[in-house]
């Protein structure tokens, strides 16, 4: 697999990879902080669990948004300069996957606003 193709795959799947990282962090950190009784640490009036979820969610959202913009830009470029069918397919899939990922990532951040950290 060439470097260009590897980059294309990362671009196409990037949103879901960002979700996977967000998920691992929010679940791992919540379990650790609650399990060890470290969740009471507060910063700027927010608990450590909430801050972690907020930061992880915003970072993942930003990553997925950037990937979505890049996919859209590439798709637009290909409309002007036709590329191979594989390239077009990968870019269009990237737009769909990164778009869906934005919703999924946001959805996973919602509990932080609603629920207490370790109840």
């Amino acid at each position: 697999m060439t470097g260009r193709r590897t980059a294309q795959v990362c671009l196409t799947l990037g949103g879901l990879i960002a979700w996977a990282i967000q998920f691992t962090i929010i679940y791992g950190v919540t379990s650790t902080l609650c399990g060890r009784g470290w969740a009471d640490t507060a910063l700027l009036g927010m608990g450590a669990v909430q801050i972690t979820i907020l930061l992880a969610t915003l970072t993942a959202l930003a990553a997925a948004a950037i990937l979505l913009i890049v996919s859209l830009r590439q798709e637009r470029q290909q409309r002007d300069h036709p590329a191979s069918a594989t390239d077009t397919f990968l870019n269009e899939s990237g737009v769909l996957i990164n778009g869906l990922s934005l919703v999924v990532i946001l959805w996973h951040g919602v509990p932080a606003v609603i629920l207490p950290a370790c109840a």
């Binding site: 697999m1 193709r5 799947l13 879901l16 979700w19 996977a20 998920f23 929010i26 679940y27 919540t30 379990s31 650790t32 609650c34 399990g35 060890r36 669990v49 191979s84 069918a85 594989t86 077009t88 397919f89 990968l90 269009e92 899939s93 769909l96 996957i97 869906l100 919703v103 999924v104 959805w107 996973h108 919602v110 509990p111 932080a112 609603i114 629920l115 207490p116 950290a117 370790c118 109840a119």
Partner: protein, 855 residues
């Protein structure tokens, strides 16, 4: 070697086909001879995907029937209150075996088996890239599965539920060997599934029709690719889980015993990290089948191809964020539960996308109401109902009410029967004309569908109510007057209706299925994909180039031209079996892969592998070890015939394309397989590190526990130096083996030998350091976790040492040089992995407790 630059012509409809007519005399005969299946007793050594695939499907179906019979026995027992048709002890074995056999011996093998048969045909490949691996996977499953099932007749079947939760399955509460049968009996079936997954990944990515770029890949191939990747990521968790529980039972290492720092919840995490993706592992191939059947029946291309591919990929990812929804009732923090609740609802979106794509396809074409169509419609109805109750139990508060009740039994059967069994029946009715001289009967097929569809609903719809009014799962009987009597009787009647449907199906198969190698029933549905091309043992006479996703619709002359040998590689370039390897994205021809033919090696290796695990279960340790050694010996015997080298100069496959018959490096198919194997290994290790951290989390202030000293820094430092030194020596040997001049320097085996010594020394020093420090594996979960990491590393080191010896033997036999070096490359990749894992393990064992200061 690089693939030649090709003209782009094969991306368009070609005016001139790659090979002219008439074809040379004897070309077709040579092709047929190379692919001829063995006769007589040797027939079982056949490795053609068409043979192994059918045996595999047949065996999976046998287990479906056997597990179904177990279900009928349970339904008879539950038909009336206070029944004593079976004892509670046997009932425990029945429900455990029903779940285990259906999930491990039917569902996963059935979809893998179908793909062994279908994938090469659908992609116009001559075979899968590792046909002997498929044969090995099948025989290990066949022998081991039957012996495993046989335990029900002697009262030795596992009885702790299909998910085998400790402490119920720990030695204290399950001292007999029943649980060991599950832990070791399922072990090799997992190996078989992973072998199949590696085959599928490399098969989908590397052996396709020319021009079948990713945008033209059949949806079924996409589904199988996602399926195989999910197995690679998900199955290692259960492999590790079974290893840890068996080590606890055999050696008293307390991973799950709370009094000594263990935690039964660790098992639940490991089990369900595999167990929930498992549901999608069997569902996605079924959706792939449906996405092939619906367009053929509606005679129109699939609507929303890209969206369906997106749905498959998204499901593959999201399904790994669901596992805790099986643990909603374990008391985890609500915040944690909500993440899994979110993923559980999110995963409904891609499933919905697929359902709407099928409905849109049906609406845009003219659907013929054939038996496959009926089963697809039945699937949509039943699966959607199961999906809706799935959204209900995805809500933690509702789940707390319904947990461990018959509501969950109803839900999971709607999902699994709807999502997997109905599509499989649709697939059998749809694809039998590819494998048989006659299609199955449409009239009988309608009876099969009617009985099964009504039967499923009559059986499982009442169970929602039975569950909501309080009947728990897994009870062997119930008292009169609970309000459950009539509902249970109805469910039992329904179960026998399903059985009647399956009996009619078996009658239909006996009457109409006649194995065909060259004279199949043909394209009876006027489908558009390549499995409907005329074929024989050699698959298609020539390898077509395709210009769309439905080539038979868009290239009307394709079947005849392919059969006449006008497309690529119409004969055999090397005189043996070959496959055309294509590039993973654009499907441009890269090289001709010489693939091995029939042989006893995979059959014997499989039998000895199964014997190793099964004999270990009944504590015949010495005999078991002999079988293990014989299994490794058979694998080496099998491998010895592989890596043939460039036996002839590059060959012309037609259309002016000249490609080599041997390549090395990242283009090579076995390089890909090694990378996948490394991912599997990496996932096992990752799950072990997760287990280590989990046990740390539940043992505040005891990591390490009081009285345990960490070994001094000097020992892990020395191990690190040896590991790195070993990798450097292998890198040096690789550098010496560069060039096109077929050189074979003497220093190569010396370097490999020295690297072996360093590798063995590194792991031995670490083991000795822990032992010297007085760490006991059975006193506390800390010691158990440390020794588990060490044990895994020692297993990898031993495997690498065997590979090192094998590579040296190849050099001594003159089968290894700077061109013919695939064996060396594979060993090198595994070597680097083992070194990397060793270093990560050292960092974890010695660094983490110091970092946390024993907290």
């Amino acid at each position: 070697m690089n693939a030649p630059e090709l003209p782009k012509s094969f991306e368009r409809q070609e005016a001139e086909l790659p090979n002219p007519l008439p074809r040379p005399e004897g070309e077709f005969e040579a092709l047929k001879k190379a692919w001829k299946a063995p006769r007589g007793l040797s027939f079982i050594t056949a490795v053609n995907n068409t043979y192994v695939g059918l045996w595999y499907v047949g065996t999976a179906f046998l287990f479906f029937i056997l597990a179904g019979i177990l279900a009928l026995i349970m339904r008879v027992q539950l038909a009336a209150p206070e029944s004593d048709f079976v004892s509670h002890d046997l009932y425990n074995q029945l429900f455990t075996m029903h779940g285990t056999v259906m999930m491990f011996l039917f569902a996963v093998p059935a979809v893998e088996a179908a793909s062994v048969y279908l994938l090469p045909n659908m992609q116009a490949a001559r075979d899968l890239p590792f046909p002997r691996l498929s044969a090995y996977a099948f025989w290990a499953y066949f022998v081991g599965g039957l012996v495993f099932f046989g335990t029900i007749f002697v009262g030795l079947s596992p009885d702790g539920g299909w998910f085998m939760y400790p402490p119920l399955t720990s030695t204290k509460y399950s001292p007999a060997e029943n649980a060991d049968w599950w832990l070791l009996g399922i072990g090799f079936i997992e190996i078989s599934a992973i072998a199949g997954a590696i085959e599928i990944i490399v098969g989908v990515m590397k052996t396709r029709a020319v021009g079948m770029s990713l945008d033209k890949l059949p949806v079924y191939s996409w589904a199988m690719l996602v399926f195989a990747v999910m197995i690679v990521i998900g199955f290692p968790a259960i492999i590790l889980g079974t290893l840890l529980l068996e080590m606890e039972r055999a050696f008293d290492w307390p991973f799950f015993i709370a009094e000594r720092g263990g935690d039964p919840l660790l098992w639940q995490h490991l089990f369900w990290f595999f167990g929930h993706p498992e549901v999608y592992i069997i569902f996605l191939p079924a959706t792939g089948m449906v996405s092939m059947i619906v367009p053929a029946m509606a005679q129109t291309p699939l609507v929303g191809y890209r969206l369906v591919v997106l749905a498959l990929i998204a499901t593959g990812f999201l399904s790994f964020g669901l596992w805790v929804h099986h643990m909603f009732a374990t008391g985890l923090p609500k915040m944690s539960l909500s993440f899994f609740s979110a993923a559980s609802t999110a995963v409904a979106v891609p499933s919905g996308i697929q359902v709407f794509a099928w409905i849109a396809t049906i609406a845009s074409g003219r659907m013929r109401l054939t038996t496959p169509s009926l089963f697809v419609i039945g699937f949509l109805f039943i699966f959607t109902l199961g999906g809706l109750t799935g959204v209900m139990v995805a809500m933690a508060p509702f789940d707390w009410q319904a947990h461990d009740s018959y509501f969950v039994v109803a839900h999971l059967h709607y999902v699994l029967i709807g999502g997997m069994v109905f599509p499989l029946f649709a697939a059998i009715y749809y694809w039998v004309p590819v494998a048989s001289k006659r299609a199955l009967s449409e009239r009988l097929g309608r009876w099969v569908f009617g009985l099964m569809f009504l039967g499923v609903n009559v059986t499982f719809l009442p169970m929602h109510i039975t569950g909501l009014i309080g009947m728990p799962r897994r009870v062997y009987t119930y008292p009169v007057g609970m309000g459950w009597d009539a509902l249970n009787l109805v469910s039992t009647i329904g179960a026998f209706m399903i059985a009647a449907g399956v009996a009619v199906f078996l009658f239909d198969m006996a009457r109409n299925f006649r194995f065909a190698s060259e004279d199949n029933a043909g394209n009876v549905w006027n489908a558009g994909t390549l499995e409907w091309l005329p074929n024989g043992n050699y698959a298609t006479r020539s390898i077509p180039s395709v210009v769309s996703r439905d080539p038979l619709w868009d290239q009307p002359n394709l079947p005849k031209d392919v059969e006449d040998g006008r497309y690529y590689l119409p004969g055999t370039a090397t005189g043996g079996r070959e496959a055309l390897v294509t590039s993973p994205f654009d499907a441009r021809p890269q090289y001709i892969l010489q693939i091995p033919g029939p042989g006893w090696q995979p059959v014997l290796a499989a039998v000895f592998t199964a014997a190793f695990f099964l004999l270990l279960t009944v504590k015949f340790v010495f005999t078991s070890i002999i079988c293990g050694v014989l299994a490794v010996g058979c694998v080496i015997w099998w491998l010895w015939e592989t890596d043939p080298g460039p036996v002839r100069p590059p060959a012309d496959i037609g259309g002016g394309i000249v490609i080599p018959v041997y390549v090395t490096g990242p283009m090579n198919h076995s390089w890909w397989a090694m990378i996948v194997l490394m991912v599997v290994s990496g996932m096992v290790f990752t799950c072990l590190i997760f287990s280590y951290l989990f046990l740390w989390l539940v043992n505040p202030g005891a990591w390490p526990p009081r009285g345990v000293e960490l070994p001094q820094w000097i020992w892990p430092s020395l191990s690190t130096v040896l590991y790195v030194g070993s990798a450097i020596l292998i890198a040096r040997a690789s550098w010496l083996l560069k060039g096109d001049d077929r050189r074979s320097p003497r220093s190569v085996p010396i370097l490999i030998g020295a690297a072996m010594l360093l590798l063995a020394g590194a792991s031995a020093i670490d083991l000795r350091a822990q032992w010297q420090a007085g760490l006991s594996p059975s006193a506390h979960a800390y010691g158990a976790a440390v020794y588990a990491i060490l044990s895994l590393q020692i297993f990898f080191v031993l495997t690498t040492l065997i590979m090192g010896l094998y590579t040296i033997a190849r050099w001594l036999a003159g089968k290894l040089d700077s061109v013919r070096r695939t064996t060396f490359d594979n060993s090198m990749l595994f070597w680097y992995y083992t070194v990397g894992q060793g270093l990560a393990g050292l960092l974890m064992i010695h660094g983490f407790p110091r970092l946390t200061g024993g907290a």
